[in-house]
């Protein structure tokens, strides 16, 4: 689907690139979410994160999610860029972005894209803190 833009990469993510990809002359609303690495997690100082993914499944699941978003909200372009490997404090781990004719759909679709990412896209995060390294368990 030419309106889906998904990427797993070890390189830094650019919000300017994401914006230029999702822009469309029929769309008045672009929403970008940037998930950045915080300096603490549950009271521990975070040094860095590491991400790994089951790459082929990531793209298949994201295609399904984008189809959902397009039929539910009528949005145009759907983008998800996610870092793999080591990501330091302050760096962007994920960019989710959606373009739409109007803003409500763009907000709702971007929020749902992030919720679905955290529920069902096969990516895992390991936190490296002063207390050691642990695979993060999602909140119940």
């Amino acid at each position: 689907m030419q309106n889906n833009f998904f990427r797993l990469t070890g390189e830094p993510l650019s919000e300017a690139e994401a914006r230029s990809i999702i822009q469309d002359p029929t769309c008045g609303a672009l929403v970008l979410f940037l998930g950045t690495v915080r300096n603490s997690s549950q009271g521990s100082m975070v040094h860095h994160l590491e991400f790994e993914a089951y790459e082929p499944m990531v793209f298949a699941v994201l295609d399904e999610i984008a189809n959902e978003l397009r039929s539910e909200f009528g949005v145009m372009k759907v983008l998800l860029f996610h870092r793999l490997g080591k990501v330091c404090v302050g760096e962007t781990a994920v960019i989710a972005a959606v373009s739409s004719a109007h803003r409500l759909a763009a907000f709702q679709a971007t929020e749902k894209l992030m919720n679905r990412l955290k529920q069902s896209v096969p990516i895992w995060k390991k936190e490296f803190t002063a207390n050691g390294a642990i695979w993060v368990t999602p909140n119940p």
């Binding site: 790994e52 993914a53 089951y54 499944m57 990412l117 896209v121 096969p122 995060k125 999602p138």
Partner: protein, 80 residues
């Protein structure tokens, strides 16, 4: 029959490897593979609540495995 198993996230720590090959009896189901994994690796049991993908698709426990299948142990995801 030989089945390739991939381990992700915390399952990697439990298995001690990213990938292995298991010899299973012909006709073994996904549920049977789960029992095998629980015997082989400490913690890889019902307390982990992992999904099993077979050939990059989520599986159900009564799905029958065949020679050459690639199964992936997918703990609860934590991307973003």
């Amino acid at each position: 029959m030989k089945i390739t198993i991939l381990f992700f996230g915390v399952a990697q720590d439990m298995a001690g490897v990213r990938q292995t090959t298991l010899e299973l009896q012909a006709g073994c189901t996904v549920g049977g593979l789960r029992s095998e994994l629980a015997k082989l690796f400490v913690g890889m049991d019902e307390t982990l609540a992992y999904a099993l993908a077979v050939n990059e698709k989520l599986s159900i426990d009564n799905q029958v495995l065949v020679e050459g299948d690639v199964a992936a142990v997918l703990p609860p995801v934590s991307g973003g």
